[in-house]
């Protein structure tokens, strides 16, 4: 091919490969020297996982934002808890009122029963004395 022997073709291909590898490796090495790619020293172990320290900074930032949001939510949660406490108190009062009402209703029922018995007794007395109507 092109008047070249197999070893000459191989040498040319290998030369091009090495030149390309040299360029790529040189670029990568420069990036490492400038600190553009993560180095092993930039890696931090978090919960058993190796994470880039920049990612760790981002995680910490997100956690800070989350803490700030939780702090803003805290007064609303406190207000909610207070409202629930007041509601529980009102329900308790209501329940006690209902209980009192039930007691009064029981007393009234007993008194009605007594009155009914007294009326029955009066009716019997009236019949016996002949003053009551029998027809």
């Amino acid at each position: 091919m092109l008047g070249l022997t197999a070893e000459q073709i191989g040498t040319v291909i290998l030369g091009f490969s090495i030149a390309l590898i040299s360029l790529m490796g040189g670029q990568k090495g420069k990036q490492i020297a400038q600190g553009k790619t993560p180095q092993a020293s930039d890696m931090v172990e978090v919960a058993g996982a190796l994470v880039n320290s920049k990612d760790v900074e981002r995680i910490v930032g997100s956690l800070d934002a989350f803490t700030a949001a939780a702090a803003m939510l805290k007064p609303a949660i406190n207000r909610d808890v207070e409202a629930k406490t007041a509601l529980t108190k009102a329900l308790s009062e209501n329940s006690r009122g209902l209980n009192r009402n039930s007691d009064t209703a029981d007393d009234m029922r007993d008194e009605i029963k007594d009155v009914r018995v007294a009326i029955e007794r009066l009716k019997d007395e009236l019949i016996r004395s002949g003053r009551g109507r029998t027809e």
């Binding site: 197999a6 070893e7 191989g10 040498t11 290998l14 490969s17 090495i18 590898i21 040299s22 790529m24 490796g25 040189g26 670029q27 990568k28 090495g29 420069k30 490492i32 020297a33 400038q34």
Partner: protein, 157 residues
Amino acid sequence: MIVLRRLANGVWDHAGVRFTEWLGAAPLLGVGYVLYAQPDALFSTMSFAVLAAWAEAAWSNMLMGCGLMRLVALFVNGTFRGFRHSPTIRFVASCFSAMFWMLFTVGIYTAWREVGGSPTGIVAYGTLIALELRNAYVSRVDMASARGRAEHARADR
């Protein structure tokens, strides 16, 4: 003793990253030694007929020389920071190794096409070319990053 411990620590710290380079030294030294111990090995099979015609006795010296150069560079690199040329030696050794394995692959291919022999060596030595190209890339990255760091340090001063 302290120097030996420092050397061992330096080698061990970078053994993972440079594993393929350590691995690549084994076929260089191994094949080189076999050809040195048994000079007529190239004539024992048809697959090496073309290689034998190219350079009959020089292969063992070239392979073992390249392997030793790489071993020295790997031992020194990472341990003695004052010597900044280890990545360059590693890169040159990788390029030479890739060249040798390419010649082996082409030699076996040519022998298979012209005089016979087994073509399995094309796959085996071809894989070694890929390994050495990877080694060349890693050592080139080390070269450029070491140079960049040195320039930064000079600029900071």
